[in-house]
């Protein structure tokens, strides 16, 4: 099976406090630690496991500036066979649809049976997988937390729905799936793995390489644009307990007792 996994480089929210910059035009990017989008890492692991079972290859693709190469390489160290880096000035400031047009153009240059995306990335949109499938006119399933290959035309997928329940579907290939966290346990990537792929050439393609008209993407192709970043004023919030640890502990226990939190 030929599998393509879409991956994005994002600020690691577990490692950073995300703050708005002075004029609200962006988040504060100095000293940010970046990593692969959490969901995408699960998607790559799943692709590798499928390949190891039924054969074929795993390609990872990312749209982004020069820095995107770092996460493509990381996922190759994990076990992906190939990397594709889509990068062009014309791609900058694309909205979700623009981004999907870029991916679509690249996908139509290749030949894939299965495309995996993460459920969502840093801006919480959860849009790329579903839009990509519709543009390719392939079937789609979101929030996938289980995949079973039935044969070379059909797979069975579990979708996570409410209350921990799972919706099972059969879906024909080729298709697009958005992968939910927890579907597997992504393998650890050590220094040795990274070294092994350090000198692998990762091809970079721009708009003309994938036969994409630049005005369909970037700012000119966008129907959605971000005006600013801000921190909403949500009122008072919690009463923060102050004092030394001893005082805080005492107050907290008193409160817990009065609210019935200690039996």
């Amino acid at each position: 099976m030929e599998i393509l996994v879409c991956v994005k480089r994002v600020p690691d929210t577990a490692e950073n406090e995300i703050e708005v910059n002075k004029d609200g035009s962006d988040i504060e990017r100095d000293d940010l630690v970046y990593s692969i989008n959490e969901w995408d890492n699960y998607a790559v692991e799943e692709a590798i496991q499928i390949r190891d079972k039924v054969g074929g290859s795993v390609t990872v693709v990312s749209v982004g500036g020069e820095e995107a190469e770092e996460i493509i390489r990381r996922e190759m160290a994990m076990g992906a066979d190939k990397g594709v880096h889509l990068s062009d000035q014309a791609f900058e400031e694309s909205d979700g649809k623009g981004l999907v047009r870029i991916l679509q153009a690249a996908i139509e240059k290749g030949s894939y049976d299965l495309i995996l995306t993460g459920v969502q990335a840093d801006d919480g949109a959860g849009q790329v997988g579903g839009m990509l499938a519709a543009m390719l006119d392939w079937p789609f399933a979101s929030l996938v937390n289980h995949i079973e290959v039935i044969n070379d035309r059909t797979i069975k997928v579990g979708r996570e729905i409410a209350a921990g329940n799972q919706e099972m579907n059969e879906i024909d290939l080729p298709c697009v799936l958005s992968i939910q966290t927890g579907i597997n346990e992504p393998r650890y990537v050590g220094i040795r793995g990274i070294r092994k792929v350090a000198s692998v050439e990762i091809p970079v393609f721009g708009a003309s390489d994938i036969g994409l008209s630049p005005d369909l993407v970037g700012k000119s192709g966008a129907t959605i644009s971000r005006v600013d970043y801000f921190v909403p004023d949500l009122g008072e919030g919690a009463e923060i307990l102050e004092g030394d640890t001893g005082e805080i502990l005492e107050k907290l226990i008193e409160i817990l007792q009065s609210k019935g939190g200690i039996k």
Partner: protein, 328 residues
């Protein structure tokens, strides 16, 4: 000119989801004069009661009623809606597991803009709708401008808009089944098989009066023990956020949130949990909330009654000792 806005109605077993009335409010925040139509899709007597229930809140109700639609699969609905929706429509869909399945692709099929997970609207200017979204798990918000001149599909966050309880003139129910199904049932490349129910765990956190809930801030599996110790000292049960379940440090039945359990305790302690909307979506009944987090800016503090800014790895064992000491 008043906009034509459609709301996708979620329902189950004949009962209407809370989002149905929230979408009325959202539609009127987009355009106070909008004509708002409920889209009700399903089958049989269930559908009949759903239509009756939403009709007083919507100007129109469009129903698609067919046995094959008794379990709505996103792939099928995505094929049906473009057959009945007028060009340039604005379609509102709840941002949850079904909406996330349906909506992005629907915007492509309708050739309209897609605006995901809106939490507020601030009017229309030059054909562009101004909306508020959140990024980075709610740590920052953004204003976005969405060109709605050729329509839009917009997903709306649950609970972000108040339910519109004002009932107006009862809307007319229009049967769109024939129009929608001309050409047959679409979406055959994805076939629904069954629902697999969640496994039942050893504790039922939905019945707990007091929960000690742990998140990614616990950092390591070995540290989970300090949470169990605290819960034991308090006489509380242990619950958690999703990453703890993903890492298999606790069983799925202890996960609080939209894709986990809905809990109604009296006291909820969030330890090293940031406060994403999917997590908070599982906490009902307005419990007394206490958050302990090392980041003073964590969104969880906005929704808690009491906050402690501390490293849980240090603070929690001290709290446990103190409670034990006090109990003697």
């Amino acid at each position: 000119m008043a906009l034509q806005i459609f709301s996708y109605i979620l329902h189950k077993g004949g009962g209407v989801d809370d989002s149905a009335l929230e979408l009325v409010t959202a539609a009127h925040e987009i355009d106070p004069d909008a004509s708002v139509t409920a889209l009700v899709i399903g089958s049989g007597t269930d559908l009949y009661s759903v239509c009756n229930e939403v009709a007083p809140s919507y100007q129109n109700v469009w129903k698609i009623d067919n046995r094959d639609l008794s379990y709505a699969n996103g792939e099928v609905i995505r094929g049906l809606l473009p057959r009945i929706l007028p060009k340039g429509s604005i379609v509102l869909v709840p941002h949850e597991h079904f909406g996330m399945d349906l909506a992005p692709g629907l915007s492509v099929k309708l050739d309209t803009a897609y605006l995901p997970d809106a939490v507020s609207f601030e009017g229309i200017e030059d054909g562009k709708l101004k909306a508020i979204r959140e990024e980075y798990s709610g740590m920052v918000s953004t204003h976005v401008r969405c060109d709605i001149s050729t329509g839009a599909v917009i997903t709306v966050r649950a609970g972000a808009f108040k339910a519109d309880e004002s009932k107006g003139k009862t809307g007319e129910v229009v049967d769109k089944t024939t129009e929608a199904l001309t050409g047959g049932l679409p979406g055959g490349a994805r076939r629904f098989i069954e629902i697999v129910e969640a496994e039942v765990g050893d504790v039922d956190i939905t019945k707990s009066e007091s929960l000690v809930s742990v998140g990614r801030g616990i950092e390591d599996e070995d540290n989970i023990e300090i949470i169990h110790d605290l819960a034991e000292a308090m006489g509380a049960d242990v619950s958690c956020s999703r990453p703890i379940v993903d890492a298999k440090w606790l069983e799925k039945s202890r996960q609080v949130g939209t894709s986990g359990q809905t809990v109604r305790p009296k006291v909820y302690m969030a330890l090293g949990i940031s406060g994403s909307f999917q997590h908070l979506g599982g906490i009902k009944g307005a419990p007394f909330m206490i958050a302990i987090n090392k980041n003073v800016k964590a969104p969880i503090f906005q929704v808690s009654d009491i906050g402690v800014v501390a490293d849980i790895l240090d603070f929690v064992p001290e709290l446990t000792d103190k409670i034990k000491e006090m109990k003697g």
